[in-house]
Symmetry: C2
Subunit: 193 residues, 2 copies
């Protein structure tokens, strides 16, 4: 069992409806030492892969992306979720549907920050149905850049997002893959890696 | 002139309507080395101040808050801007009005992560009219916690946010205070500190 799986068992809370709450250490309150270990683990898993930029999506992906960027020594670019008046006109926009929030979002990145020569490592905290991730992949390819890899902290292995992305041939690494949860007993089952 | 003022002069873009765009290094694409220096500078400016938690607001405050947290060795808590289905019922909510986005937002923090004994350092990337900051101060005080300090990367000194917060007696440190901008010439004037 790795450090993130251990932390999920220790501080994660399983709720009805396959909800895994990690808001005490990952996506509301954040343990910056844990974030650093996650960043280091992505660096280990993508050793030897050429990365020129890390792409994530607001909000909770930002902290992990910055932790990873320290190891890769590249800039972080975070996609915004709705049109902001402070973003320049020339943008890549992907339409994504959120299962969690039951609404459609636009994922937006300024064109000037993603170039065809970029080798993009996409980082996010959660992967479930993968809508946000599909938006980030789509934007990377709109820019003519390359998806060098995808790093996820926690994947819900029983939802389709990870399978779709692996089927499409993208190199996806999830530090913890949850294959099952039981709210009554509070148990979490991880996929062996 | 400090490192952040130098970077603003080098890579910031002044637009009509007192808009200062720093999206190439601070709030869309992010230079993680610069973030680290900002975090270190907050640590220097609040030397000797007891801090138990850093509070920020999604999205662009998160990266700076995490950089600072590494120096203070405390957790980061980021307020969310609208009710998310994944947040627990028991929350502190402040109503804030955004001048940039011309809408009202709720700033939300789970009660369980802010305690009366907390000494809170509030961190954000920008301070203009201070609506978001007022929401963070309000939530800290709802929790009975103490505002130990407020650290801002870039303050627009010609807008009211900083003056209001200093008048109220809060210890506010802004690394760069912009006192004037001119879109035609592209000049930025900083307040001497």
């Amino acid at each position: 069992m790795n450090f993130l799986e251990e932390r999920i068992l220790k501080d994660g809370i399983v709720k009805e409806g396959n909800v895994l709450k990690v808001d005490s250490f990952l996506n509301h309150q954040m343990d910056v030492e844990l974030l650093d270990r996650i960043g280091e683990e992505f660096y280990r898993r993508f050793e030897g892969v050429r990365v020129t930029k890390i792409l994530t999506i607001e909000a909770s992906g930002i902290a992990i992306a910055c932790a990873a960027a320290k190891y890769f020594q590249v800039p972080v670019l975070f996609a915004k979720k709705s049109k902001s008046v402070n973003i320049e006109g020339d943008m890549y926009v992907a339409e994504v549907e959120s299962f969690t929030h039951k609404c459609k979002n636009q994922v937006i990145v300024s064109r000037k920050f993603l170039l065809p020569e970029d080798q993009v490592l996409i980082i996010d905290d959660f992967l479930a149905n993968g809508c946000a991730l599909q938006g980030l992949v789509s934007i990377t390819e709109m820019a003519g850049a390359t998806v060098a890899g995808i790093g996820i902290a926690i994947e819900k292995g029983f939802q389709i997002g990870g399978r779709v992305i692996r089927n499409l041939g993208y190199p996806l690494e999830s530090i913890a893959i949850v294959d099952g949860m039981d709210a009554k007993s509070g148990t979490v089952t991880f996929r062996a890696q």
